[in-house]
């Protein structure tokens, strides 16, 4: 059981007079074993929020609870709780070290997990193979460098690396927005299968409402660093209450439906 709770989280960039609050008083819960979508436009603070969970940003107010433990500024045992949270990034080009084989990248994640895994090399190798199989990649490719893989394959390696740390919570930050639509489906299906198989808690950040609606059970909508609407995904997206959510849903292009009626105002 691992849930992720944001309690009145505020995050500020810069200091003094140039300080700029990018996230303000955000509270919501990602319940254990569920997939929650976080949507909003660029600059709405959705990535910042996710990065705060793993310690890449420090909130100035509020608490972030992983399984009941506050991980803000965590040290010692609280910091090890944070290790149960892993993140997958948007850019498939920069998420893997270009100088390390994909097997080595995954192995590194295995090695930091615990002493037992560090000892036995053969066992680690077999775990790498198992992880590659889990993300539907040929284990024989463990020696490949990232540049030998397509964008979609690299994103699957990133998922395998995150899974190597045996996380309970996954943060997926726009993981398919740089991919072609044909490749996007395979990565999303993989994420869905892995989530079900390992009963993971997933925070899925995306600007693609159609994807969020199909993949996520719940959704939270951020605008300018504030939460404007949250609830079950189909309900929020099909019957948006907040005008901003409405605007977002309306702007989604649909095949064959003109984006604006005749003589639409600019």
């Amino acid at each position: 059981m691992s849930d992720l709770v944001f309690e009145n989280v505020g995050i500020r960039y810069g200091s003094g007079r140039s300080a700029h609050e990018v996230v303000r008083g955000v509270s919501f819960t990602v319940p254990s074993g569920r997939t929650v979508g976080l949507v909003g436009e660029s600059g709405s603070g959705k990535s910042t929020l996710a990065r705060a969970v793993v310690g890449l940003h420090e909130p100035c107010t509020g608490r972030i609870l992983v399984d009941g433990t506050d991980v803000v500024g965590a040290r010692g045992s609280a910091a090890s709780v944070r290790r149960t949270v892993q993140m997958i990034f948007q850019d498939a080009n920069s998420c893997l070290n270009p100088r390390m084989s994909i097997g080595a990248s995954i192995e590194e994640a295995l090695a930091v997990r615990g002493r037992s895994a560090r000892r036995d090399r053969a066992q680690r190798r077999s775990e790498v193979r198992a992880l590659l199989e889990m993300v539907e990649l040929d284990p024989a490719r463990a020696g490949d460098l990232p540049m030998q893989l397509s964008g979609g394959q690299r994103q699957r390696v990133a998922i395998a690396r995150a899974l190597a740390a045996e996380p309970r919570i996954l943060l997926a930050d726009e993981i398919t927005s740089a991919l072609d639509v044909s490749v996007q489906g395979t990565v999303l299906n993989l994420l869905m299968r892995v989530q079900q198989r390992l009963d993971l808690t997933v925070l899925f950040i995306s600007h693609n409402l159609a994807v969020v609606r199909q993949l996520c059970e719940d959704v939270a909508v951020l605008k300018d660093g504030e939460l404007v609407e949250a609830g079950p995904a189909t309900e929020v997206i099909d019957r948006p209450k907040h005008p901003y959510t409405h605007e977002l849903v309306d702007a989604v292009p649909r095949i064959g439906t003109p984006l604006f009626g005749e003589g639409a105002a600019v």
Binding site: V54, L96, R141, V183, Q214, L259
Partner: protein, 623 residues
């Protein structure tokens, strides 16, 4: 998009598919090796290796072979001029200068190489330490580094050399330490660009320790440029060491290097120039060798690529591809457009024989995945492609002008008349508005430039019109915006400014290459509405490139589907919406788009990565 296709031929090759996994595994290593061999075989590579062998030979064997001769003083031949016996003459002590020059090679080269190695080592440690040190200490190191950089390096070397006492060891230390700050700054800059990347963030999240991140993730990614600069740095160190010895601050008698010998021989340069000239030649030769080796290493690491200009014979396939849709009054008519890009071996064809028409006032979408050649097609039409890409077509007619001359596009060397035609009638909106506007110029100035160049306007009139055009694209407070810099505008505003630039004249065609991909959906809608307004009010045809088939179908009147460099289908938006697409690729693409009315929790439709679709176009049924 197009640029990534060009700069990474390997990834394009991967997309071609069909390469066996096992053979691919060895391919990268093999290609690196092949590049190294190719560089070594190039003229510059051969020169570098030959020069390096010569320098290494004298450094190793110089003192062994000529050391004794160099010590023999012939008291009958003091400061003698060159003769058959002493090719460079003798010095004031009656010793053979040539033997001494060759013997001194070892000390001079060893000093230079050790100093450079010391400089790089100390520099890397200082430069990368802040990335793993606590924040305060890191800042302190950075400030100290800034101060050290402000100090002239040679002055620093002199100070250190005097402090440590003269001699070959202190000269090495002095120059090494003097070089360290610049290497530290280089390492710091390179390191910062690596530590900002996601894989370092991922390693931190995994709990990899900071020193380990430095060793495993940062160092391997900054290694190549540092090695190259170290080699070039050795040349600098050589000159510096020679200079210090020349000034008497370096090597002291009885030891001697080129600098000290130069000091001794320069006094009699007008009487006997041979020793000084010989020494000069040796110093230049060694210095050039270091620089050459650096250049060869840079090329071998792929840091800078030699400009490849290969002649190419036109190998035109006679079979012209079908034109899927013929417009009655085309503003643009393209026939059999091909783009070829040089690969390590042979040529790739990212655009293979594309033919299409765009009618007046039409909004045509070109849709395809990355690497399908859609951006290259647009760039080729606007004659924006240059060497090393090879562009050919049997005909490209833009309005009444034929752009193709003898099967080729003029590219960079277009005539004035053609430049005027393209400048006034064709507008181009790029994908990334943050890079398509010059950050150093005011928005209004950039928009006005088109009017200055092609509209025959005076500067003030042009600026006035630019403000008017910015108002036409519904930019709030246009007069103020015109005086702002691009970074002060949001992405959507910049894209509007780009469109305004196109509207400075009366374009017949506006090519928009993924103009909204970098924008949010709500802003995307506004920009598209603006493009539509331009289309309605000015009758401007729009060629709209996108990877998003749902976006294209909700905005355009007709859709061209591109797959692996060929147009496989042309169909109206109504047909697409009604599910009347015929080509399997088009159908697959439509099916893969996530729908707003899909059943939640179901799997997404996919196109398996190794699916091969036919490249043949679906012919339109006669109306």
């Amino acid at each position: 998009m197009a640029l990534t296709t060009l700069s990474s031929p390997d990834s394009a090759l991967t997309e071609e598919g069909g390469v066996a996994v096992a053979s691919e595994q060895t391919r990268v290593a093999a290609s690196a090796r092949r590049r190294f061999v190719a560089v070594l075989r190039s003229p510059i590579g051969i020169c570098a290796v030959a020069a390096l062998i010569v320098v290494a030979f004298f450094a190793v064997f110089g003192p062994v072979l000529w050391g004794d001769v160099a010590r023999q003083a012939d008291l009958t031949q003091l400061s003698a001029k060159p003769s058959a016996h002493h090719l460079l003459g003798t010095d004031a002590g009656g010793r053979d200068v040539l033997a001494r020059v060759l013997t001194a090679t070892r000390l001079s080269i060893v000093t230079a190489v050790l100093a450079a190695a010391l400089g790089v080592s100390v520099g890397v440690v200082i430069g990368l330490l802040p990335t793993i040190a606590p924040r305060r200490l890191g800042r302190l190191i950075n400030s100290a580094l800034g101060v050290a950089l402000a100090f002239p390096a040679l002055l620093l070397a002199i100070v250190v050399s005097i402090t440590l006492g003269v001699g070959s060891v202190s000269v090495t230390l002095a120059i090494g330490l003097a070089m360290a700050p610049s290497f530290a700054r280089l390492a710091q800059t390179l390191g910062a660009s690596v530590t900002g990347r996601d894989f370092v963030a991922a390693a931190r999240i995994l709990g990899v320790s900071r020193p380990r991140i430095l060793v495993r993730h940062v160092l391997p990614n900054v290694r190549d440029p540092l090695i190259v600069n170290a080699s070039i740095g050795a040349g600098t160190a050589l000159v510096a060491a020679t200079g210090l010895s020349f000034l008497g601050l370096g090597v002291q008698a009885p030891e001697y290097d080129w600098g000290r010998m130069l000091n001794e021989s320069v006094g009699s340069i007008y009487v006997n120039p041979a020793p000084a000239l010989g020494l000069g030649a040796a110093i230049v030769f060694a210095g050039v060798t270091f620089a050459l080796v650096g250049e060869v290493l840079a090329r071998a690491f792929g840091l800078h690529r030699p400009s490849r200009r290969r002649r190419r014979q036109a190998t035109h396939s006679a079979a012209a591809s079908p034109v899927l849709h013929v417009a009655d009054t085309p503003v643009l008519s393209v026939r059999d457009l091909r783009v070829e890009a040089p690969q390590e071996r042979g040529w790739a064809t990212p655009v293979r024989g594309v033919s299409f028409d765009i009618g007046r006032g039409e909004i045509v979408g070109i849709v395809g995945e990355s690497g399908s050649g859609k951006s290259l097609t647009c760039m080729a039409v606007a004659s924006l492609l240059e060497e090393p890409l090879h562009v050919a077509a049997s005909s490209i007619r833009f309005e009444e002008t034929e752009l193709v001359v003898e099967g080729k596009l003029p590219g960079g060397q277009r005539s004035k008349a053609l430049a005027h035609q393209l400048g006034t009638r064709l507008a181009f909106v790029f994908q990334d508005p943050s890079t398509s506007l010059n950050p150093a110029l005011r928005v209004g100035t950039q928009v006005a430039e088109v009017g200055l160049l092609h509209g025959g306007l005076k500067r003030r009139e042009a600026f006035h019109r630019a403000v008017d055009r910015l108002a036409a694209v519904r930019l709030s407070d246009p007069a103020r915006r015109a005086r702002q810099y691009p970074h002060e505008l949001s992405g959507g505003m910049r894209q509007r400014a780009m469109i305004a630039m196109g509207l400075m004249v009366e374009p017949a065609l506006m090519i928009a290459d993924e103009p909204t991909t970098a924008l949010d959906v709500t802003v995307q809608r506004e920009v598209l509405a603006l493009l539509r307004k331009v289309n309605r009010e000015h009758g401007t045809a729009v060629m709209f490139v996108s990877h998003d088939i749902s976006l294209v179908s909700s905005f355009c009147t007709r859709v061209l589907v591109m797959y692996r460099g060929a147009i496989v289908e042309s169909l109206s938006t109504e047909d697409l919406a009604a599910g009347r697409a015929e080509h399997p690729y088009t159908r697959a693409l439509v099916a893969a788009v996530p729908h707003m009315d899909a059943v939640p929790g179901t799997e997404f439709a996919t196109i398996t990565e190794d699916t091969e679709f036919p490249l043949d176009a679906v012919r339109e049924e006669p109306v």
